[in-house]
């Protein structure tokens, strides 16, 4: 390829006039390859960029997921602590003054 290019260039230099490019099939093939190479190069650049921004997004979501997980576990812990049997008993007895009915107070209704 170098030889061909040189040849063309020298022709122009020393003949002192521009030659019209001859659109030979070889030339077409060459241009197509160059275009493809460039396209794939830019494609890779784009993909890499895309990948990195996606990874960074994913990271954001993962940390969000973790934070939500932390919050969920803490809320669960809070819920279970508030709803522990010992506390229910305490509130029923001391705050609401509830008492279990005595056996005389229970009436059994048979079906």
């Amino acid at each position: 390829m170098n030889a061909a290019a040189r040849h063309l260039a020298q022709q122009q230099l020393w003949e002192g006039k521009l030659t019209v490019f001859v659109i030979s099939p070889r030339m077409v093939g060459l241009l197509a390859l160059v275009t493809l190479v460039l396209a794939s190069a830019f494609g890779i650049i784009y993909e890499r960029n895309q990948y990195r921004s996606l990874v960074s997004n994913l990271q954001g979501y993962q940390s969000q997921h973790y934070n939500l997980h932390v919050e969920a576990q803490q809320l669960l812990l809070e819920q279970t602590t508030w709803a522990s049997q010992a506390r229910i008993q305490h509130v029923a007895q001391h705050a609401l003054h509830m008492v279990p009915p005595k056996s005389e107070q229970i009436v059994l209704v048979s079906e």
Binding site: Q73, T80, A86
Partner: protein, 558 residues
């Protein structure tokens, strides 16, 4: 050809440029070779060290829930603060704030770091609240880092402590179900190779070496409401009677699941340092006792199973005692002629002995063995004991007699409940389970249905009028059960001052759903009789259980 001539004439310029460029290319090429081949390893390593990181992906431990999915053990994310003393700046003005956040004195903190200055990793404080962790993060001290970890919390605290057990600070199961199902509960932390940029952000995931697998949730067969009721009632009784300890087990007869398993004394698994190690034991499965009179319900089943005798067969127990191999077996008084039912109802040692001696001597051992004595249960709880049920080559009448009323055999509370569970289930033995079962275990028949049925009817008379277990009656339900009062063994033989009060029974007696065993160890205030100290615990807890689990009333037996 003019062109050719021109080119030819200017050839030296062509070569000059050519060699100049060639030299540049060669120099560049050599440099490339040097970097790519000669220094490759070194450079690759340096590059990787600056950007490649292997991240540990933490996996959380599964929850433990009760049979209705209510959480009983939760892993909550917390942070641990660690420091690299080699990177730590002792002159930093914010050290004071760090000490304040961690709740320690500055001097103590600095001393701790100085003492470990040869290391690269020491914990400053483990398991701190994420709020404080955030504050530590904002201080941004060099060498001070955070590590994400999990901490185990037990919301029901001492009520569930014995069954669930606990984990150590690194979340490895140490006791109870946490230990038994450690592999099932624990997740597997993953590893991921990533490229990080200068700021510490991950920019590329190279490879997930091992994905993080979260631990699975374990669903217990325990119903936390029943468990709480049992715990509170047992605790009351143990406290009031100044007993040394107590245990209670409630079994679901139809499935073999353990609905509740409680012990006294207990401990708080959330802050263990102050607790006595002795309290960690799940006595219901780890502690053995001689079941005493409670065995009689099973001895009676053995009589019915292995002879033509029935509930109304009679035997003369006069004069209230019997001599065997130079030992005396006696009742509190002379009961005269008794039916088999009456022997059970009045808990007559002499009657039980005489009936048992009518049978082939090895039959009692076989029956008790079939009912699960002398063998570990299928729960396979850490520290579980098998108990003792020694087979004799030749059964002396006295050994056989003592076995028939529950001495010379030892069992755990769970085993006692399991054996009565067989009677209550109509002779079918189901594997007991501490985890909720997906499908009901069909079980295996170990005694005849008619035997179990008759034994159950006789056990009902024990709780009925004139029996020893009247205090186990529950309004609106029929109850079958057996009391037991056992003298404890000490180094000097049987002790007349230390007793066990036991009650084991099934409700509702017409179609048993639950079997419960209560053992009160060494009650010293008030009565020590099983019928007086243990039976009321049974009645109170089971009345609540029947109500909580909506078992329709069966009507009292007149």
């Amino acid at each position: 050809m003019r062109l050719r001539t021109v080119v030819y004439q200017e050839r030296w310029r062509y070569y000059a440029i050519f060699f100049f460029l060639l030299t540049i290319f060669i120099v560049l090429g050599m440099r490339v070779v040097q970097l790519m081949v000669v220094d490759k390893q070194f450079l690759q390593k340096q590059g990787n060290a600056r950007s490649l990181r292997v991240l540990t992906l933490p996996a959380s431990r599964g929850m433990i829930t009760d049979r209705n999915g209510y959480p009983l053990a939760i892993s909550s994310p917390v942070d641990s603060v660690w420091v690299n003393p080699k990177e730590f700046d002792f002159q930093n003005p914010h050290i004071f704030s760090l000490a304040a956040v961690l709740g320690e004195s500055q001097d103590h903190l600095l001393q701790h770091i100085r003492e470990n200055s040869h290391r690269e990793f020491i914990y400053l404080k483990r398991h701190i609240n994420p709020k404080f962790a955030e504050q530590v993060k904002t201080l941004n001290l060099p060498g001070v880092n955070l590590q994400k970890e999990y901490r185990r919390y037990y919301p029901e605290s001492e009520v569930m402590a014995h069954v669930i057990g606990f984990t150590d600070i690194d979340e490895h199961g140490q006791e109870g179900m946490e230990l038994r199902y450690d592999d099932f509960l624990k997740g597997q932390s993953g590893k991921q190779k990533v490229i990080k940029d200068r700021m510490g952000h991950t920019i590329e995931v190279i490879d997930t070496i091992q994905p993080a697998i979260a631990g699975q949730d374990l669903v217990l067969s325990i119903d936390r409401r029943v468990q709480y009721l049992a715990y509170r009632t047992l605790k009351n009784t143990v406290t009031k009677s100044h007993a040394a300890s107590g245990s209670m087990v409630i079994l679901d007869v139809k499935t073999g699941e353990i609905i509740a398993m409680v012990n006294q004394p207990s401990y708080n698994p959330n802050s263990r340092s102050k607790n006595q190690v002795d309290h960690y034991r799940n006595r219901a499965v780890t502690d053995l006792f001689e079941p005493g009179s409670t065995i009689k319900g099973l001895s009676v089943a053995n009589v019915l199973e292995n002879s033509d005798l029935n509930a109304d067969s009679t035997i003369d127990t006069s004069p209230g005692w019997i001599a065997l191999n130079g030992h005396v077996v006696d009742d509190h008084k002379n009961n005269g002629v008794m039916t088999l039912t009456r022997v059970l109802q009045r808990s007559s040692n002499v009657g039980m002995t005489k009936f048992t001696l009518l049978l082939p001597p090895e039959s009692l051992w076989q029956t008790l063995h079939k009912l699960g004595f002398g063998e570990k249960t299928t729960v396979n709880f850490p520290g579980e004991v098998a108990g003792h049920l020694a087979a004799q080559r030749i059964w002396s009448p006295f050994t056989l007699a003592t076995l028939s009323f529950g001495y010379g055999v030892s069992a755990s509370t769970l085993q006692l409940a399991q054996a009565y569970g067989v009677i209550a289930a109509g002779g079918i033995k189901r594997d007991v389970s501490l985890t909720k079962l997906d499908k009901i275990n069909a079980g295996t028949r170990v005694i005849k249905a008619s035997t179990a049925q008759q034994a159950l009817a006789m056990l009902e008379t024990v709780v009925g009028k004139g029996g020893t277990g009247t205090r186990a009656q529950i309004k609106g339900y029929r109850v079958a059960g057996k009391t037991g009062t056992v003298r404890k063994i000490t180094e000097k033989g049987y002790d007349n001052h230390h007793h066990l009060g036991i009650f084991v029974g099934a409700v509702p007696a017409n179609d048993p759903r639950f079997v419960a065993a209560v053992v009160i160890d060494d009650p010293t205030v008030g009565s020590y009789y099983g019928g007086i100290v243990a039976a009321p615990v049974f009645a109170k807890v089971m009345a609540g259980t029947l109500r909580l689990l909506s078992i329709p009333s069966s009507g009292e037996r007149s």
